[in-house]
C-alpha cells in the first residue's frame, strides 16, 4: 500500500469520528496556539524595545552620574550629581567623539494665548539632532551661538503643537509661548517619532541647556551626557576616552572607582535581549509540556481506535496486509491527527495574535520560525505517541483479530 492510500484511509477514519478527533486534537491546538500567540507578543515587545533603544541615537554612549554608596549599599544610578557642562565640553575634545549632547530634564508649563499645557522639558546642546539621530520637520534647531548666549528659543514636539495650536499640522514657528512664565520663541518642530510603550516621544519641549539651567531648572549639574562616537568601530575607543577624560576631570586616583557610568546601546540591548531569552525559554517549556499532554491524548485515542478496529485489522491482515502496512496506517493516522491539530493551532494562534494586537494595541510580530517549529514538533508528537499503538495493532494475530467481538 502506498503512502497516499494510507493518508486517505486515516483521513477517512478521522472523518468518521469527527467530534472525537477534534477533542483529541484540542490539546495540541491549545498548546500550539498559546505558544504562537505568546511568541508573537514576546517578539513584538522585544522588537519594540530594540527599536526604542536604537532610536536613542547612532553609536551612542550614555554617560550618567555614578551611584552613591553608603558602605555596600548602592543608592542607584544618578544618585550623585557629578556631571557638569564643562565635563561635556571636555568630552567633545576627544578625536573619537563626533558629538556631545548634555541633557537636563524637568517639567514645564506652556502657555500660548489662552491655552495651557504641561509637558516635559529637556535642555540640551546644538548637537542633539546628530547625537540622538533625529531631525526637525519644520523650522530649525538652535545653534551653538544660541546655546552660548542662553537664548530664549524652543523646539517643540508635535504633541505639544497639537495641544497648544489646535492641530499637529499647524505651523507654530515664529510664535512666542510662555514656558514657566518666561517668553520663548518657537524656532522648530521635532520630527514625530510616535509613542513607544508608555512614553510619547513627541510630547516635549527642547531648549538650550544653558537657558534651562539658568532660568528653569537651576543648579550646576546636568543629568545625562549623550555622546556619539565617530563610528561603530570607534565605540570602544570612545568609551575609553570618555572614561579617561572624566576621571582626569574628577581628580580620581587610580584606586578610586568611577563616579559616573558609561553605557552603550549594545549594553542596553543585550540586557533587554537576555530578558527576552529567559522568556523564550519559559515559552518553550510551556510548549513542550502542552505538546506532551496533547501527545498523550493522541496515544490514548489511538489505543482506543486499535481496540475498536481489531476486526478491521484482522480483515486487512487476512487478505495480505503486512505488519508494516498496518503500522504505517496507524502511524499516519496519529501524525495526521497531530498535524491537523498543529495547523489548527497555528491558525488559531495567528487569529488570536491579530485580535490581541487590535484590541489591546500591543505590538506583535508574527514570524515563520515558531510556526515551523510548531508544525514539526506536532508531527514529532504524532510519531512518538503513535508508535506504540501502531506497533500494538501490527502485532495482532490475524486469526485472533478476526475472532474479536
Amino acid at each position: 500500500m502506498n503512502f497516499w492510500e494510507s493518508v486517505r484511509v486515516s483521513l477517512r477514519s478521522i472523518q468518521t469520528n469527527k467530534l472525537r478527533s477534534f477533542l483529541t486534537m484540542l490539546g495540541i491546538i491549545i498548546g500550539v496556539s498559546a505558544v504562537i500567540a505568546m511568541v508573537a507578543i514576546g517578539e513584538g515587545a522585544s522588537a519594540n524595545v530594540a527599536s526604542q533603544i536604537n532610536g536613542l541615537g547612532s553609536n551612542l554612549l550614555i554617560v550618567s552620574p555614578g551611584q552613591a554608596r553608603q558602605g555596600q549599599i548602592s543608592l542607584g544610578a544618578g544618585s550623585l550629581n557629578t556631571l557638569t557642562l564643562a565635563d561635556a565640553e571636555a568630552i567633545a575634545q576627544n578625536e573619537s567623539v563626533a558629538g556631545v549632547a548634555p541633557s537636563i530634564n524637568g517639567r514645564a508649563q506652556l502657555v500660548w494665548r489662552n491655552k495651557n499645557y504641561s509637558t516635559s522639558l529637556e535642555g540640551t546642546s546644538e548637537s542633539y539632532l546628530q547625537v540622538r539621530n533625529t531631525d526637525v520637520q519644520q523650522g530649525r534647531f538652535f545653534n551653538h551661538l544660541e546655546v552660548k548666549e542662553r537664548a530664549n528659543v524652543a523646539v517643540v514636539g508635535t504633541e505639544v503643537v497639537s495641544n497648544l495650536f489646535g492641530d499637529a499640522g499647524a505651523n507654530p514657528v515664529g510664535q512666542t509661548i510662555q514656558i514657566n512664565k518666561i517668553p520663548f520663541e518657537i524656532i522648530g518642530v521635532l520630527q514625530s517619532k510616535g509613542s513607544s510603550g508608555m512614553t510619547n516621544n513627541d510630547d516635549k519641549v527642547i531648549i538650550p541647556v544653558t537657558t534651562a539651567m539658568d532660568r528653569i531648572t537651576g543648579g550646576k549639574n546636568v543629568g545625562t551626557i549623550y555622546v556619539s562616537a565617530v563610528s561603530a568601530e570607534q565605540m570602544a575607543l570612545a568609551q575609553a576616552d570618555v572614561q579617561a577624560t572624566l576621571r582626569a576631570r574628577h581628580h580620581l586616583k587610580p584606586k578610586d572607582s568611577d563616579d559616573f557610568q558609561i553605557r552603550s546601546q549594545t549594553d542596553i540591548l543585550s540586557t533587554a535581549q537576555s530578558v527576552t531569552s529567559v522568556m523564550t525559554a519559559l515559552l518553550s517549556g510551556i510548549a513542550a509540556i502542552s505538546l506532551v499532554v496533547g501527545g498523550i491524548g493522541i496515544m490514548n485515542i489511538m489505543l482506543v481506535s486499535v481496540t475498536e478496529r481489531t476486526r478491521e485489522i484482522g480483515i486487512r491482515k487476512a487478505i495480505g496486509a503486512t505488519r508494516w502496512d498496518i503500522q504505517r496506517q496507524f502511524l499516519i493516522e496519529s501524525v495526521t491527527l497531530s498535524l491537523l491539530g498543529g495547523i489548527a493551532g497555528i491558525l488559531v494562534g495567528i487569529g488570536g495574535v491579530l485580535l490581541i494586537g487590535k484590541l489591546a494595541g500591543l505590538p506583535t510580530s508574527i514570524s515563520l520560525p515558531p510556526m515551523l517549529y510548531a508544525f514539526l514538533s506536532s508531527m514529532l508528537v504524532g510519531v512518538i505517541f503513535g508508535v506504540y499503538p501502531a506497533r500494538k495493532a501490527s502485532q495482532l494475530k490475524p486469526i485472533d483479530a478476526l475472532r474479536y467481538e
Binding site: 500500500m1 487478505i319 495480505g320 503486512t322 508494516w324 502496512d325 478476526l402
Partner: protein
C-alpha cells in the same frame, strides 16, 4: 496434476490456562489442482482450524504443510501475509467486509496490499464484481447490500488477485436456500474454469455440489471420497426453489 496442498501429520493444540485442546490430531491430506473439496464433520471437529491453517491465518503446532509446493512452517508473519495475499482467497461465513467501505473498494483491498496501481486496481475490482453479477452495486456499502450480495462481494474480493486456492468456511451458513444455490453456482463455474476450491459446510446437499467430500471427526480425517451423484447448481434451479 499439481498438488496444491499437502499436509503431513499436522496437529494444532490450543492452550487455555493449563488445559490443552487438540483441535487437529495428525491430519494427512493432499489436494490436487482443480479439485473442489467439501469438508464436513460435526461441530468442534476441527474444520475451521484446518481451514485457518490452510489459509495461513494460523500455524500448525507440528507437522508439515506444503502450499503450492512450498513449506509454510518456515515462513514468518510477513511472508505469511504475502502468501495470503498472492495465493489464497478466503470467503468467510460472516463475510468480513470492511464496514463504511464501498463494494468496489472492499474488492480492491487485496490489490492495494499487492501494490497494484490505482487505475488497474479499480478495473480489476469492477471486473471481479461483474463476474459475480454485482456490476451494478459497485458503490454500495456492505450495510446497503443483502447477505447474498455481501457474500458475492467477498467472493469477488477472494478472486481478484487470482489466487491458486479459494477457501470458504461455511460460505452459505448465513444465507437462504436460493441465495446459497446462487453462490454454489458461482463456485462451480470457478471450479470449471480451473480454480481449486475448498469449502466447509454442514449441509449435505451443499457438499454434493463439490467433487470430493472429506469428513472430519475429533481433529482427524475419517473419510475422503469422490461425490458419486454430483449436483449442478443452475440459476434456473435457484429461481424454482425461490
Amino acid at each position: 496434476m499439481k498438488t496444491v496442498i499437502a499436509m503431513e501429520n499436522v496437529t494444532k493444540i490450543y492452550r487455555i490456562g493449563d488445559q490443552e485442546i487438540q483441535a487437529l490430531r495428525g491430519v494427512n491430506l493432499a489436494i490436487e489442482e482443480g479439485d473442489f473439496v467439501a469438508i464436513m464433520g460435526p461441530s468442534g471437529s476441527g474444520k475451521s482450524t484446518m481451514m485457518n491453517v490452510i489459509g495461513c491465518l494460523d500455524k500448525p503446532t507440528s507437522g508439515e504443510f506444503y502450499l503450492d509446493g512450498h513449506p509454510v512452517s518456515e515462513a514468518d508473519d510477513d511472508e505469511l501475509a504475502i502468501i495470503r495475499n498472492r495465493k489464497i482467497g478466503f470467503v468467510f461465513q460472516n463475510f468480513n467486509l470492511l464496514p463504511r467501505t464501498s463494494a468496489v473498494e472492499n474488492v480492491e483491498l487485496p490489490l492495494l496490499y499487492a501494490g497494484v496501481p490505482a487505475k488497474e486496481r479499480r478495473e480489476r475490482a469492477i471486473q471481479a464484481l461483474e463476474s459475480v453479477g454485482l456490476g451494478d452495486r459497485l458503490a454500495n456499502k456492505p450495510n446497503e447490500l443483502s447477505g447474498g450480495q455481501q457474500q458475492r462481494v467477498s467472493i469477488a474480493r477472494a478472486l481478484v488477485n487470482h489466487p491458486v486456492l479459494l477457501l470458504a468456511d461455511e460460505p452459505t451458513g448465513a444465507l437462504d436456500t436460493k441465495t446459497s444455490m446462487e453462490i454454489m453456482h458461482i463456485f462451480q463455474q470457478l471450479n470449471e474454469a480451473g480454480k481449486t476450491i475448498i469449502l466447509v459446510t454442514h449441509e449435505p446437499d451443499i457438499a454434493e455440489y463439490a467433487k470430493r467430500i472429506v469428513r472430519f471427526r475429533d481433529g482427524q480425517v475419517v473419510s475422503n471420497e469422490l461425490v458419486t451423484a454430483r449436483r449442478w447448481a443452475t440459476l434456473q434451479e435457484a429461481e424454482v426453489m425461490a
